[in-house]
């Protein structure tokens, strides 16, 4: 019995060490409560198959193809709820705990009191595989993304701004009254 327990721990530790996806099974219970859910599980073979069908002629699809070339799995769970408080903090905590394992590091954590939104980005940099985990939680929506493999965050973010999701208005610095508008560049006729 003891040996079996040790063996199980070793297998789990090995799986985490190799950069396996984080376990999101406990979120399945939220499906019944959510008004909208999205569940994407793309492991190695399915990911390759999907990537094969991406068109090289479409610039966005070509970018996605390049982006996912080195990935071993993409797992997405999105839940939208009618009312607030339909999921508990413990649902998020159990994911966070998995991301406290060695190798993972939290690179961004944003907490917005105004939007009541909490977003965290974790990155796995050591080991041969690498990985990315995103947790976005607001009172009526919970999104968890787990990516196994090395991914270019800039490209992913850039694609996220393009693929059907409208670019959010960045607060551009307003020109102060003192600044004069620049004249258009004149061509050197000489």
């Amino acid at each position: 019995m003891k040996i079996l327990r040790i063996l199980t721990i070793c297998i789990l530790a090995g799986a985490l060490g190799r950069g396996q996806a984080i376990d999101l099974k406990h979120l399945d219970r939220l499906v019944a409560k959510a008004s909208e859910t999205a569940d994407v599980t793309l492991d190695g073979s399915l990911l390759k198959l999907g990537a094969k069908f991406l068109s090289a002629d479409d610039p966005d699809q070509a970018k996605v193809r390049k982006l996912v070339a080195g990935l071993k799995g993409i797992y997405v769970r999105t839940f939208t709820f009618e009312n607030e408080g339909e999921y508990s903090e413990s649902d998020v905590v159990s994911i966070r705990k998995q991301l406290e394992s060695p190798g993972w590091s939290r690179i961004v954590g944003v907490r917005s009191k105004k939007d009541k939104e909490n977003a965290e980005v974790y990155l796995k940099t050591d080991g041969p595989d690498g990985g990315l985990a995103i947790i976005c939680a607001n009172p009526k929506e919970l999104t968890v993304v787990s990516i196994v493999g090395k991914i270019n965050l800039d490209e992913l973010s850039e694609l996220g701004g393009k693929l059907g999701v409208p670019e959010m208005d960045l607060e551009k610095p307003k020109p102060s009254g003192l600044e004069k508008p620049k004249p258009p560049n004149k061509k050197d006729d000489d």
Binding site: V40, L46, K52, F53, V110, C136, L156, G160, V165
Partner: protein
Amino acid sequence: MSYLEDDLKMALQRTEPSEDFVGRVLARVKQPPPPEPGWWKRLTVLLRPPRLQWVAACIILSVVIPVSGVQYRKEQRMRAEGEKAKEQLMFAVRVAGSRLHRVRQKVLKMGRMETRL
């Protein structure tokens, strides 16, 4: 008269049938017709040289048509699975990218606010 004429005469000379000839003919007529050949005999008939090509063509077609049908259905299924996987992949990248983008924008926004302060 030459020997040739003698030989001809001898050869064409009328000879009476044996006494039991009529009986034998009537007995043969009364016999039932021979039985129909079995399926294996008919198959051997098909395999005779002039029909062999047709049989070979039929065998090839009977193998090729179902195999290509199965292959076609397999490819169709594979294509459907691939298209579905592609849609899922695009959706996953869209969700992951948009969330990351949102986080990034918030961080940038905070950075700007701090800079202004």
